[in-house]
C-alpha cells in the first residue's frame, strides 16, 4: 500500500507547474523576494526619471530618513508576527524621547543616566502592553489603541508641549545624528545602530528557539501551547522588547531631528505598519522575515524621496503609499494560497 502512495506522491511532485504557480511558490518560500523586486523597480524608475536620485549624497539622505521608521518597524514586526498590532509605537517613542531630554536638560542628569532611565521607561511601557494582552486577555488592537492615547497624553503633559533643542542636551543624547563619510556617502551612527538592531533581532528570529516560538505563537497559538511553547511568556517578551526598540528609535530621532519634539513623526504608527506589510510580513501572524521590513521601510522612503525629487506634490506621494499598501496585502493573500 505504501509503495502506491509513494509513487503517487512522487508523480504528484513531478507534475508540471505553470510559470505563475512557480513564481507563487518561490514568493511563498522567500517572502523577501517581492519587496526586493519592488525596491529594485523603484530604483530603476527614479534613476531614469531624476538625475540626482542615484548619487552618494542622495542615498545617504535616504538612509538617514529611513533609519528611525526602520528601527520602529523592527518592534512592529515582532508584534505583527505574533498576529498582534502595536498602535502605541509612536507614542512610546515620543514619551521616551521627551523624558530623556527633559531629565538631561531640566534635571541636569548626565546623558547616560537619562538614556538608561528612558530605556527602562520604554521597557515598562511595552511590558504594560504585553501584560494587558497576556494577563487581561484584551486584543492587541484595543490595548495599544488605549495606551496610544495614554502615552501620548503623558508625553504632552510632561513636556508641556514644548520642544527641547539638541543644543541644550548632553552629547550622548544627540550623538546618533553624527556620523562619518565614505566618499560622498554620509552615514550617521543612527544608521549603524539601526543595522545592528536588524542583525541582532534577525538572528534571534531565525537562529534561536525564541524566534521559532514567536512564529509558532503567531501562526497557531493553540497548537503552539499544546506543543509546550510558553505562549504567554513569549508574547510578554515580544511587547517588552518592542518597547526597548522604540526607545532606541527615540534616541536616533533626537539626533536626526536635532531636537526632542512632542509632535515629531506624527504618523510613526502607520509608517511602521506600512513598512512591515510591504516587507511581506502577514498581518495574520506567523509569516514574514525581518529583512523584508527593512526593504519595506526603504521602499516607502524611496517612493517619498524619489517623488519629491521629481517635484511631485505631497498629496500624490501619500496616495502612492496607500496604493502600495493595498497591493502588498493583496499580494500576500494570493501568495498564502500556495500549494506544494
Amino acid at each position: 500500500m505504501s509503495t502506491t502512495v509513494t509513487s503517487a506522491a512522487a508523480e504528484f511532485a513531478r507534475r508540471q507547474q505553470s510559470p505563475v504557480q512557480r513564481v507563487q511558490h518561490q514568493l511563498h518560500a522567500r517572502p523577501w523576494l517581492s519587496p526586493l523586486f519592488l525596491l529594485f523597480v523603484a530604483f530603476v524608475v527614479f534613476f531614469i526619471a531624476t538625475p540626482t536620485f542615484l548619487t552618494a549624497n542622495s542615498m545617504g539622505i535616504l538612509l538617514q530618513q529611513t533609519a528611525v521608521v526602520a528601527t520602529l518597524a523592527v518592534g512592529q514586526t515582532l508584534v505583527i508576527l505574533t498576529a498582534g498590532i502595536d498602535l502605541s509605537v509612536g507614542a512610546i517613542m515620543v514619551l521616551t524621547m521627551m523624558v530623556m531630554a527633559s531629565l538631561a536638560r531640566d534635571g541636569g542628569m548626565p546623558g547616560l543616566l537619562a538614556l538608561l532611565i528612558g530605556f527602562l521607561l520604554a521597557l515598562a511601557a511595552g511590558a504594560l502592553n504585553g501584560f494587558l494582552v497576556t494577563r487581561i486577555n484584551l486584543p492587541p488592537f484595543i490595548v495599544t489603541l488605549g495606551t496610544l492615547s495614554v502615552y501620548t497624553a503623558i508625553a504632552l503633559l510632561y513636556s508641556g508641549g514644548e520642544s527641547i533643542q539638541a543644543s541644550h542636551l548632553p552629547g550622548l543624547l544627540n550623538v546618533l545624528g553624527d556620523g562619518f563619510a565614505i566618499g560622498g556617502f554620509r552615514l550617521t551612527w543612527g544608521i549603524v545602530v539601526m543595522v545592528i538592531i536588524y542583525a541582532v533581532v534577525g538572528y534571534a528570529l531565525s537562529q534561536t528557539a525564541w524566534g521559532r516560538y514567536v512564529y509558532a505563537v503567531g501562526d497557531d497559538p493553540e497548537s503552539a501551547r499544546l506543543s509546550g511553547v510558553p505562549s504567554k511568556r513569549i508574547l510578554l517578551a515580544v511587547y517588552t522588547v518592542a518597547g526597548l526598540i522604540y526607545a532606541i528609535a527615540a534616541w536616533e530621532l533626537i539626533g536626526r531631528a536635532g531636537a526632542a519634539t512632542p509632535n515629531a513623526v506624527p504618523d510613526a504608527n502607520l509608517q511602521s505598519i506600512t513598512a512591515v506589510v510591504i516587507g511581506g510580513t502577514s498581518l495574520f501572524g506567523g509569516r514574514g522575515v525581518l529583512i523584508g521590513t527593512l526593504l519595506g521601510a526603504l521602499i516607502v522612503q524611496t517612493l517619498q524621496f524619489g517623488l519629491s525629487q521629481m517635484g511631485v506634490d505631497q498629496q500624490w506621494r501619500v496616495l502612492a503609499t496607500g496604493f502600495l499598501i493595498i497591493v502588498a496585502v493583496a499580494a500576500d493573500q494570493w501568495i498564502r494560497k500556495v500549494k506544494a
Binding site: 505504501s2 503552539a224 509546550g228 500549494k339
Partner: protein, 277 residues
C-alpha cells in the same frame, strides 16, 4: 473488590500471577473529578494503562473522553482524584510536565504549526542547540542536526510519503500531517503516547497507514491510549477498550469479550456491564 469484579474491570481477562495484567499499570487514574462551572466534566473516573498495550477510550459526545485525556496529559488540572505513574502519584500543572514524565499527546486539532517546516515541528519546544559557545552563549539552533534526526525518526516509522524535512507542514495532506504529529509524539523516548481521534479526518487508505503506525509503536514497546469514534478502527487495533459514559467509566471490555454492537450498547447505556447486585 472480588476477583470477579477485577476481571470485569480488566475486560474479562483472568487476573493472576500469569496474566499480563498482574503487572503494575504504567499509568492510572483514580476517582478523577473535574467541573466547569455547573457542568460536570468527569465524575470520579478510574483508568488503567498497562505497559505495551493499546487502550482505546470510547464514548458518546460529551461522555468525557477528551476531558479525561486532557487531565492525564496536563492540559487540564483535575479538581480532585489521583494520577499515578508506575504507582507513584504525579501532579501535572501543564502539558510540558506530562511530556517530561514521558507522556506524549497527539491532539485532535493536531498541534502542528502549519507555517513551520516538518523538522521544526518535530522539535518544537525541545529544540537542540549547536555545540560549543555558538549554542551556549549565542543560543544558535542546530538546524542541520535536527533536520537529519527528524528524517531518521520519520523513516523509522515507515512513513514514505514525507521526504523533505524542510517542507512547511501546511503543504502536506491530512494523513501526512497526522504522521508528522505521531512521529513527533513517538520520537523522543516517550513511554506513553495518547492519540485523540487520529483517523477522524482521514480517508480509508490514510487511516490504514496511521493504524499500522500505531501498531508499530505498540510493538516497539510503547503504551498507547487511543480515543476514537470509529468502532471498526478501535476493534482492529485495541487490546482493551475503556468505555466512558456521562462523565464516568461504564466499563472495560476487550475486542474478544464483546463485539462492536455490545460495545456501542454499553456506550449508549442500552446495556450495563458491571454485574449489579
Amino acid at each position: 473488590m472480588t476477583t470477579r469484579d477485577l476481571e470485569v474491570a480488566h475486560g474479562g481477562i483472568p487476573v493472576g500471577k500469569e496474566g499480563i495484567y498482574s503487572q503494575q499499570p504504567i499509568l492510572s487514574a483514580r476517582k478523577l473529578v473535574i467541573t466547569f462551572g455547573r457542568v460536570v466534566g468527569l465524575d470520579g473516573v478510574d483508568l488503567d494503562l498497562y505497559p505495551g498495550e493499546i487502550l482505546a477510550v470510547i464514548g458518546d459526545n460529551g461522555a468525557g473522553k477528551s476531558t479525561l485525556i486532557k487531565c492525564l496529559t496536563g492540559a487540564y488540572i483535575p479538581d480532585s482524584g489521583e494520577i499515578l505513574m508506575n504507582g507513584q502519584p504525579v501532579h501535572f500543572r501543564k502539558p510540558q510536565d506530562a511530556r517530561m514524565a514521558g507522556i506524549e499527546t497527539v491532539y485532535q486539532q493536531l498541534a502542528v504549526v502549519p507555517a513551520l517546516d516538518i523538522a521544526s515541528n518535530l522539535y518544537l519546544a525541545r529544540e537542540e542547540r549547536r555545540k560549543g559557545p555558538l549554542g551556549s552563549v549565542f543560543r544558535m539552533l542546530d538546524k542541520k542536526g535536527m533536520e537529519r534526526r527528524a528524517g531518521q525518526a520519520v523513516q523509522r516509522l515507515g512513513i514514505q510519503t514525507i521526504q523533505n524535512m524542510g517542507q512547511a507542514v501546511e503543504t502536506l495532506s491530512g494523513g501526512q500531517r497526522q504522521a508528522v504529529a505521531v512521529a513527533r509524539a513517538a520520537a523522543f523516548g516517550s513511554k506513553i503516547v495518547v492519540l485523540d481521534e487520529p483517523t477522524a479526518a482521514l480517508g480509508v487508505k490514510e487511516s490504514g497507514m496511521v493504524l499500522e503506525m500505531i501498531k508499530q509503536l505498540r510493538d516497539g514497546g510503547l503504551s498507547i491510549i487511543l480515543i476514537s469514534h470509529n468502532m471498526p478502527h478501535v476493534w482492529e487495533v485495541a487490546d482493551r477498550i475503556h468505555i466512558q459514559r456521562l462523565g464516568a467509566l461504564a466499563g472495560v471490555i476487550t475486542p474478544q469479550s464483546h463485539d462492536m454492537g455490545e460495545g456501542v450498547a454499553i456506550m449508549t447505556g442500552a446495556k450495563r456491564l458491571a454485574p449489579s447486585a
